[in-house]
């Protein structure tokens, strides 16, 4: 663009994203078309469809390799842009580059944090002892926030106020228990005396479901036809996070758990929900994910809930290795799941410990299952009561998002992916799912805000 002889800016350098020597600059409409098709179909099928839509013959047609290059480049730019945005948001809100608040960035004014006694389960503190303005740090992660700390410290901006969790009233919980227990045999009833947990309100809760999804990794070198296969199967990993607040959703994706959780922190800060008292994570049993959550959110209260589907799956898998005979296994599984559905982990462990030794074929796997229950004890709530109260019990939203963003396109079709190819394609798909394509393609930025979305993501 010129003003007389004076050059204002160069569209090739300042406007359009970097392209290869023979590549042409693309307008927003063209960009959208070229990014949209490969999200659902292979690059070859996308090539055919785009060329048909544009009536391009072979000479002027778009090549699948070009499409793949464009998607990878755009995906990398998206990740880079999100990283920059994340860092800017974190710094602006008094957080360090690792996503942890610096002194003075958080004020615990209307709630008091209570750490759990070391090694005690969540229900170790009777709920009567937790006052309305206190919040129980369910996982006992040592906090770097002192509730009495003075605001005049390292951070000079406006600190975030951690609100007290809003929980369901005891009357409502009792009514839900009574309703559930109605017409049920004593064994299948919720024991009201044992329900110590606090149940979050159905409104204004930040529900976060996180999961990793792996796809087959391609060989980094020697990918010619007829070359020997890889010795071991390797995986390219994507982390997907689904955030739901009231009726709004947003999806985040990234290469690693920590990086994606940092995106989550920045997203919560950007949407003014970082100080919300009710933050609930829904996860599968993966230890690395749970540990990362504990490391990242030690500064605030949160809950982790083990997804019911994964708990059931784990029980089925391990019991088939533990118990002799289909019939016995089926009885043990039904009984075990009925205890777990009520959140009775102790009873489940006791039941497994007292099993007839003649029906056990693998004691090691039995101990593994007991160990799994012990390790996830704090994350196994009374699913029956949660369901009765209208609360989420599973991470199905992120499982669905995994399918939509990664699995449908990148799994079970004989394809293999490079790390950056897989994450880039997932980033582009996530952009479309979040309806951010207009912001990205035209303005090279993200709104990074919730939007009304179908619950199925």
């Amino acid at each position: 663009m010129k003003n007389g002889n004076f050059s204002l800016y160069d569209t090739g350098r300042d406007v359009f994203p970097k392209i290869k020597p023979k590549e042409k600059c693309r307008t927003a409409c063209m960009d959208e078309l070229m990014l949209m098709f490969p999200c659902d179909e292979s690059y070859r099928d996308s090539e055919a469809k785009i060329n048909r839509v544009l009536w391009r013959d072979e000479e002027y047609g778009i090549k699948s390799r070009t499409l793949a290059d464009i998607v990878v480049r755009e995906g990398e730019s998206i990740q880079e842009c999100l990283l920059k945005k994340t860092q800017a948001i974190l710094v602006a809100n008094g957080f360090d580059e690792k996503g942890q608040p610096i002194a003075g960035a958080i004020v615990v004014t209307d709630c008091e944090m209570i750490d759990l006694p070391q090694g005690k389960p969540a229900n170790a503190i009777p709920k009567e002892d937790v006052k309305e303005n206190q919040c129980l740090k369910v996982h006992g992660v040592p906090s770097n926030i002192d509730s009495n700390q003075s605001v005049s410290s390292d951070y000079s901006g406006k600190p975030i106020t951690l609100a007290a969790p809003i929980n369901q009233s005891p009357e409502k919980v009792k009514a839900a228990i009574d309703n559930y227990n109605k017409d049920k045999p004593l064994k299948k009833q919720i024991d009201a005396a044992r329900v110590q947990e606090l149940y979050e309100n159905t409104q204004n809760v930040v529900n976060v479901s996180a999961d990793d999804v792996q796809v087959v990794k391609q060989k980094e070198k020697d990918r010619k036809k007829g070359s020997p296969p890889k010795e071991n199967k390797e995986w390219a990993k994507n982390t997907i996070v689904h955030i739901m607040y009231n009726k709004s959703n947003y999806l985040l994706n990234g290469k690693g758990i920590i990086g994606t959780l940092m995106l989550l922190t920045a997203f919560m800060l950007h949407n003014n929900i970082a100080g919300n008292g009710n933050l609930v994570f829904f996860v599968d049993g993966a230890r690395d994910l749970q540990n990362a959550i504990m490391d990242m959110y030690g500064w605030r209260p949160y809950k982790i809930i083990l997804d019911w589907f994964h708990l059931e799956k784990k029980c089925k898998e391990l019991l088939s290795m533990v118990i002799k005979g289909k019939f016995v296994k089926s009885i043990v599984l039904t009984t075990l799941l009925s205890y777990l559905w009520l959140g009775e982990v102790d009873k489940a462990i006791e039941y497994l410990t007292n099993l007839d030794m003649n029906s056990i074929k693998n004691e090691k796997k039995l101990n593994e299952l007991i160990g799994y229950f012990n390790r996830n004890r704090n994350n196994i709530p009374c699913y029956a009561l949660r369901k009765e109260l209208g609360l989420k019990t599973s991470s199905n939203s992120v499982e669905k998002a995994n399918d939509n963003i990664v699995a449908n396109r990148q799994k079970h079709n004989g394809t293999s992916w490079s790390n950056c190819g897989s994450v880039s394609l997932a980033s582009v798909t996530t952009m479309f799912k979040n309806k951010e394509q207009d912001n990205w393609i035209k303005r090279r930025t993200f709104r990074f805000k919730f939007h009304e979305l179908k619950l199925t993501a």
């Binding site: 663009m1 300042d14 406007v15 927003a28 035209k442």
Partner: protein, 79 residues
């Protein structure tokens, strides 16, 4: 102040006679002054492209409608 884009479509027979009134469809394009810098270039240019596509589609639609309507008259006459 915006600029205008006009698309004319004429359909002629073998003798070079126009079969019907030419189709004229207009659309408004952003003025050059709206391209204030690299930050809004893609967004403003997108408006140009969308208007151009819209005008093209509309003009073609009208032209083909006219063509089809002439065609139906011819068939009717034959019968």
């Amino acid at each position: 102040m915006s600029m205008t884009i006009e698309v004319f479509v004429k359909i002629k027979d073998a003798d070079g006679n126009e079969s019907f009134e030419p189709v004229i469809v207009t659309g408004e394009l952003p003025d050059f002054s709206e391209f204030t810098g690299p930050d809004n270039f893609l967004e403003i240019f997108d408006q140009v492209e969308r208007t151009a596509i819209k005008v093209r589609n509309e003009s073609m639609k009208q032209a083909i409608e006219n063509y089809s309507s002439e065609l139906s008259k011819k068939k009717h006459m034959k019968e």
